[in-house]
Symmetry: C2
Amino acid sequence: MAENIAALQAMLGELADAVVVAFRGATTALLDGRARVADRVIAGDPELDDLRARIEALATETITIFAPVGPDMRILVSAIQSAHELERMGDLAQHVAEIAQRRAPEPAVPSVAHDLFRDFSAQAIAMVAKSAQVLRTRNVVLALELEQDDDRVDALHRELFALMFGEQWTCGIPAAVDVTLLARFYERIADHAVALSERTVYEVTGRHPESLQL
Amino acid sequence: MAENIAALQAMLGELADAVVVAFRGATTALLDGRARVADRVIAGDPELDDLRARIEALATETITIFAPVGPDMRILVSAIQSAHELERMGDLAQHVAEIAQRRAPEPAVPSVAHDLFRDFSAQAIAMVAKSAQVLRTRNVVLALELEQDDDRVDALHRELFALMFGEQWTCGIPAAVDVTLLARFYERIADHAVALSERTVYEVTGRHPESLQL
């Protein structure tokens, strides 16, 4: 069973890395108006779905064969949930790529919001990369850092809204609608990254993160 | 084990009903600008989280004790996923209530979009109610209907965007941002309702819905 669990953790790490790659691609497509990069992200999504299905199948099979108890059971059930969460993050990357595709060759984010959106998206993607590392290394200290990282993403998210509501915003309603949705997608992946890491903390320590804050 | 599975299905039905109630409340708060109704939805969210945790615990315990195989295993793993999905839908109801609360006693949806938004939200909530019924009755025909229902929700969603992009929209950026987010939240619960029902179809028939379209 230890072998299967190791394989599952490697597959989850692989899926998380693929999500990071998808989000980096979608973000480039978005900020630089590059349609072919967006196409590539969209075309890659079925691979992520497939990897999720393989993780789910292996975890279920392992539970069925070995009927584990305690911590191993916790790890296997949580692998299924994490795979589902990562697939969902992949869907969000696809949504970003779709908006990029629709506006290309213009960048979907208007120039007044470009720098702020670049920081915001970079922070969110860095969180996903960190949660991939947590999935691989099961490093609890790193996992707990993600809560603070999320506060920074939330602050940049609020700045984006302040920008849209201010006088500098002369880009009209359609651009505001795009930026609202895009901001929501990046905020959601940051939330998912936190949830993934919270689950790892619980698996490793048997305790919920709020009882462990450094 | 059959007893535990029956208990889990009842608990999932109860959780789904609670999500419907939360969404109805949040929608009233939103369209009528009623802050106290919004408060009640927000105050009720921990109960949903608690029910989700109890479903997860019972499903995990059942797997550990009975080490089921085949269809029973599928039902138990899928109960954990459905509970997670329903909790997420409850979070979305809370987000709606938060926007309602922020704008009350004004309705957060401007009057020009009021009727369209009422239809749109009613359709999405009806889908959640139908998926609750599917969870209870395991009625595959009803489950398959949800795909068509979702097409109607998507059509109303597109109408809302067309309205915001048109000349009738004189409500400015902040209202457009609110409506964009709100529309996204209702669209998401409709998606979740479809996913819940797809899972039931797979449990009952061992086949994915796309291979069964009526």
